[in-house]
């Protein structure tokens, strides 16, 4: 009997330990605290999968009622390392954990691998702030996914938008310049060549005689005006 107890204890420990770390690598939602309904979990899983597909960054959500580590951060680090999360060569991942240890709610969000350069500290703080504004756990997790997405989208979109704007301005400017040149060429081509009026002389050669020339001085008139004087 005592042997059976010891065997059962060992088995329990193995299974128990394994349960903490038991995972399917494709699974990204670990609701150990059982705070999500199956419907909520499936909806969140859908959004998480979409995030991973869009950005090639691993996203994991954990809820726990108990952990052995000193703090939630250490728990997260161990969870990431032990379960080999992360996608790509630099193992990018963003993980959110909700802990209800000692019936106190604690929320933590951390980035790992390449994802650390994609989110600034203030952005992580913003994600946590937005999560804390929601009461329901489902809503908190939705906020986590939403803001994780928005910070990445905004960066990409910003760069794309800037590039698109530059391209658009270039296209408009180039079109304006070329069409102006074409219009100017059409305008200049329209000039009709003007023949110079010929100065025709009807005087028969040798017949012009001017026999009186009088140039008589009559009067002179001098006007003086100061250079700075703008009066007429």
């Amino acid at each position: 009997m005592r042997h059976i107890k010891y065997i059962l204890l060992v088995l329990f420990l193995i299974i128990g330990v394994r349960n903490v770390y038991a995972f399917d690598k494709t699974d990204k939602i670990y609701d150990y605290a059982l705070i999500l309904s199956s419907k909520e979990e499936s909806k969140i899983k859908e959004k998480v999968d979409k995030f991973i597909d869009n950005y090639n960054i691993d996203m994991v959500i954990i809820t726990v009622k108990h952990y052995n580590q000193d703090d939630l951060n250490s728990y997260l680090s161990e969870f990431y390392t032990q379960n080999e999360f992360g996608i790509g060569d630099n193992k990018s991942a963003i993980i959110a954990v909700i802990s209800l240890k000692d019936e106190k709610e604690e929320v933590e969000v951390r980035t790992f691998g390449g994802a650390t350069s994609l989110y600034s500290d203030s952005e992580i703080r913003n994600i946590l702030n937005n999560m804390s504004k929601k009461e329901k756990y489902y809503d908190k997790l939705n906020e986590f996914i939403k803001y994780s997405d928005s910070y990445l989208v905004s960066d990409d979109t910003k760069n794309e938008n800037i590039l698109s704007s530059i391209n658009f301005i270039f296209i408009i400017t180039a079109s304006l310049i070329v069409s102006s040149v074409i219009s100017l060429i059409s305008f200049l081509l329209h000039k009709t060549p003007k023949y110079k009026d010929i100065d025709i002389s009807f005087v028969k050669e040798g017949t012009l005689e001017i026999n009186t020339k009088v140039d008589k001085f009559i009067t002179t008139n001098t006007k003086k005006k100061a250079i700075n004087d703008r009066r007429e």
Binding site: S183, T192, D197, I210
Partner: protein, 320 residues
């Protein structure tokens, strides 16, 4: 030719469509009497054209109604024959039309086929003139000194008198053909003048000025030419203002000459644009107007086209 209505004695008008003479009051109609040439007087502008073929529209105002007369106001003495044929004239017109993308549709090359060969009547006048001209002339000098601007005007009374013989002074016998076209189409080689012996295949413009008007016009022109010659001798002045003249004209000899012109008048925007070609040398005078809306269209179309091409290339990432 009797061109009066037998019913009401009104002047019969030519209906070009029916090719009949018509009375506009009592609607009487009759056939046109066969004649070697008819004189068509436009009922709108009163231009008068002699032709041995039917005229359907006035070459000056495009009116289609005419009166038929048989009176030639001024019988020509000489004629300067055409050396340039219609084909050549049309080609000259097409040359100036080339690359004119802003031209209105009325100036399309196909409309140049309507160019007509017409003899324009001129009096060629020879005069001995003797006379005097008087003018007030100014010499203006300007300078600066000690912070002042000075302008000095010296006025002179200038008299020139003399004599000259003027030959082949052209006096236009038409109110409709533009005066300045003679100078623009010059030169005309009067060595090739031939005696006038009737209408050939071209139109002839009937003189629309009466004898008195022609005399006054030629006298005025001669006097102006005399003054211009005297003015050339008044040198060294900034301004010349004629105040008096006394010019006598002697040994006046005039002949009426028909000068060959290829003429095309196009109406656009309530204005008549005249294209005239010297029938001897092919020299052309005339301007094709610009249609501003076409310039805007060209700009917009090219802008849209280029924008679309660049946009598509950008989308396909071929450029940028």
């Amino acid at each position: 030719m009797n061109n009066r209505c037998p019913n009401c004695n009104a002047v019969l008008k030519l209906n070009s469509e029916k090719n009949k003479l018509q009375c506009e009051y009592c609607k009487f109609e009759c056939e046109i009497e066969n004649s070697n040439s008819n004189i068509y007087t436009c009922t709108n502008c009163r231009a008068s054209i002699i032709s041995n073929e039917k005229i359907t529209e006035c070459i000056y105002c495009k009116n289609k109604e005419f009166e038929l007369t048989d009176e030639m106001n001024l019988k020509p003495n000489y004629i300067l024959p055409f050396k340039i044929d219609k084909k050549h004239a049309i080609n000259e017109l097409k040359k100036i039309n080339k690359y004119k993308f802003l031209k209105p549709k009325e100036f399309k090359s196909k409309n140049f086929n309507n160019v007509v060969g017409i003899y324009i009547p001129y009096l060629l006048c020879d005069y001995d003139s003797i006379g005097m001209v008087e003018a007030n002339c100014d010499i203006v000098s300007k300078w600066r000194s000690d912070g002042y601007r000075y302008k000095k005007t010296d006025t002179y009374n200038v008299i020139r008198s003399g004599k000259m013989t003027l030959n082949n002074v052209p006096v236009l016998c038409s109110k409709y053909f533009k005066e300045d076209l003679y100078n623009k189409l010059y030169p005309f080689d009067y060595n090739e003048l031939k005696k006038y012996d009737g209408v050939d295949n071209y139109l002839i413009e009937n003189s629309t000025l009466n004898k008195e008007e022609l005399i006054n016009k030629s006298n005025t022109k001669i006097k102006e030419l005399f003054k211009d010659e005297m003015k050339k001798d008044i040198q060294g002045y900034n301004t010349i203002e004629f105040t008096n003249d006394s010019i006598n004209l002697n040994n006046i000899k005039t002949i009426c000459v028909l000068i060959p012109i290829w003429l095309l008048n196009i109406k656009y925007n309530n204005e008549i644009y005249t294209f005239a070609i010297n029938g001897q040398t092919g020299k052309l005078s005339g301007t094709i107007p610009k249609k501003n809306s076409k310039l805007i269209s060209i700009f917009l179309i090219s802008f849209i086209l280029i924008f679309t091409i660049l946009f598509i290339l950008n989308y396909l990432k071929v450029v940028l």
